[in-house]
């Protein structure tokens, strides 16, 4: 019978993405609830030393799939290798982060394993009938609780929502031999815009600008650099060509849940709120006291962002 929780971690160039810690921590919590064990898989090339990092979060068994064919993420190679590992382990539950990569991987894996998949899950609870998974629908206006029949069950969890908890275990580390198999797509180029740009969905703090910037994001960029934050934008700022689509927060852009979201000159259309309303703290700066963003925000300032933000920057600089 299928047993155990299996977490697929995500790393890039030898560094774990934050979602990996969230996924393993959640895996530990569920393994305890289900009274079972936790396995974490790490895929990549030259990753032999990475297992130590993940032990802290409570996996009993760590599988390191180290192969040059896994150096770049491809749907095919990762699905092939994981299918073998999962069939060998026969887990009841598989947890993957719903990152860009994880969303791609989980759908393909679900079809290959003939498993039920819940995408973009924000909460998991145990009931008499088994696990119940909560996911937002209709732009976050409604939450749905869903159940998955059969095993394995696959859940892709939304980044930045679930807690990271350290529960060190003495884990066994296995290095299974892997077969990468046929890869039908070839990555031949990566266009990296800026090396140090913070991924929006993983950022702790986001400073976002909208139509109210009039296209001038300089103060927003300055403030975000000072706070170590990522820069986001509303759809209208993207439609105007002021920011790239990848900066867009909202229903048809990124869904983010940072600790702090600072919305500057963003009115707060449904489109935008759908992407950021689960942020832990929202501060809105807007000239219009009637702007809908104030209904979602925790704190609001009615005022001109071009006057206020330079003052904030000055105040922070004066502190140090």
């Amino acid at each position: 019978m299928a047993q155990g929780v299996f977490v697929v971690t995500e790393q890039r160039d030898g560094t774990f993405r934050k979602i990996s810690y969230e996924a393993v921590s959640e895996g530990r919590r569920l393994a305890d609830l289900l009274n079972t064990n936790l396995t974490a898989a790490i895929l990549g090339a030259d990753i032999a030393t990475m297992s130590g990092e993940i032990k802290k979060y409570g996996a009993e068994k760590i599988l390191v799939a180290d192969d040059s064919g896994l150096s770049e993420y491809t749907t095919d190679a990762y699905t092939n290798v994981l299918t073998d590992l999962i069939e060998e382990q026969d887990p009841e539950l598989i947890i993957i982060g719903a990152s860009t990569q994880g969303k791609d991987l989980s759908a393909r894996l679900a079809a290959r394993l003939d498993a039920g998949l819940v995408m973009d899950c924000v909460a998991i609870k145990q009931t008499d009938g088994g696990l119940v998974f909560t996911r937002p629908m209709f732009g976050g206006k409604v939450l749905a609780d869903v159940e998955i029949a059969g095993t394995p069950q696959i859940v892709a969890i939304r980044p930045n929502v679930m807690s990271i908890v350290e529960t060190p275990k003495s884990a066994t580390v296995d290095r299974p031999s892997v077969k990468v198999g046929e890869v039908k797509t070839s990555v031949f180029e990566k266009k990296i815009e800026t090396g140090d740009k913070i991924e929006l969905t993983e950022a702790d703090i986001i400073v976002s600008g909208g139509r109210g910037t009039g296209g001038d994001f300089s103060v927003i960029e300055d403030l975000s650099a000072l706070l170590g934050a990522a820069v986001g934008s509303s759809r209208s700022a993207v439609d105007e060509g002021w920011r790239p689509h990848s900066d867009q927060v909202g229903q048809t852009g990124k869904v983010v849940s940072p600790n702090l979201y600072i919305a500057c000159g963003i009115s707060g259309a449904i489109q935008h709120l759908a992407g950021m309303s689960t942020s832990k703290c929202i501060v809105a700066i807007n000239k219009d006291p009637e702007a809908p963003i104030f209904s979602k925000a925790d704190f609001g300032v009615t005022g001109d962002l071009f006057e206020l933000i330079p003052e904030i920057i000055k105040a922070i600089k004066n502190m140090t």
Partner: protein, 263 residues
């Protein structure tokens, strides 16, 4: 190039207040404004642009009741050549995988080089593209924000990856791509365009027409079941910071400090 685009009719979340019905089993569907799923519309526009460059045809397919036809027709008004409507009582209450099985059966009946889907739908699970590719055993790329046809066997696609970066891939046809919004600017559909296709016959196929066993789809074939809908807690609205600039700044700095913005 023969291109198939999978489209879905969804409640327009920007236009509607979405409410949960009394027993939490569904949303209130009366009086909802429906439209084409936004991602799918970008996919249709992209398909039309590819056809205009390299020739071939664009077919739009949708699974759903009678109402799905209006969406297919709208996309034909946009410029798609053909429409296919997959409709059967047995399809009702299908989960993501059921939907994929229906599409897969229809695709295997036809002959397509390229299948496009939207990255996700507002009322869906964001898994159709990836699952469809796996079940067809075709190559797949998700979050596609650029397509270039190299020849009739290979295309080059750009994918959105983390931190605003892009990855360029070469993929052999036939393949499945899930299209990201922002890849193009979908054209406006005017009333004249709608009129032009108003009387075009759109074929309707059920389970037996596409050789699909009804128990693989619908409720009986579903592994995902919805047990409850509820509305998330809405906050109480913002605490508006009052006072002179100094006082507001002081409060803001306090918030930034407590949230880890200032170390």
């Amino acid at each position: 190039m023969e291109i198939l685009v999978c489209v879905k009719r969804v409640p327009d979340t920007a236009e509607n207040e979405i409410e949960v019905n009394k027993d939490g089993s569904d949303i209130e569907r009366d009086d909802l404004v429906y439209s084409i799923n936004e991602w799918d519309n970008y996919a249709v526009e992209e398909a039309i642009q590819i056809r205009d460059k390299v020739g071939g045809s664009v077919t739009v397919v949708s699974v759903g009741g009678e109402e799905a036809e209006e969406i297919i027709r709208r996309e034909m008004a946009m410029g798609a050549d053909k429409g296919v409507h997959l409709s059967d009582q047995a399809f009702e209450e299908s989960d993501g995988k059921g939907l994929v099985r229906i599409l897969q059966a229809a695709i295997e009946k036809g002959s397509y080089d390229l299948i496009l889907t939207g990255v996700q739908a507002d009322d869906g699970a964001g898994q159709v593209g990836g699952m469809l590719a796996a079940m067809l055993d075709w190559p797949f790329a998700s979050l596609v924000n650029h397509i270039e046809v190299i020849n009739d066997r290979t295309i080059k696609v750009g994918r959105e990856i983390a931190a605003g970066n892009q990855e360029m891939n070469e993929i052999d046809l036939p393949c499945v791509l899930s299209i990201q919004t922002g890849i193009n600017e979908p054209r406006y559909v005017g009333i004249r365009g709608i009129r032009k296709v108003a009387s075009v016959e759109i074929p309707v196929f059920g389970a037996s027409d596409i050789g699909l066993s009804p128990d693989l789809v619908g409720k009986s074939g579903a592994t995902i079941s919805r047990v409850d809908y509820f509305v998330p807690d809405l906050g109480e609205g913002a605490e508006i910071l009052e006072g002179d600039t100094g006082e507001i700044l002081e409060k803001l700095i306090e918030i930034l400090q407590s949230k880890g913005g200032i170390k």
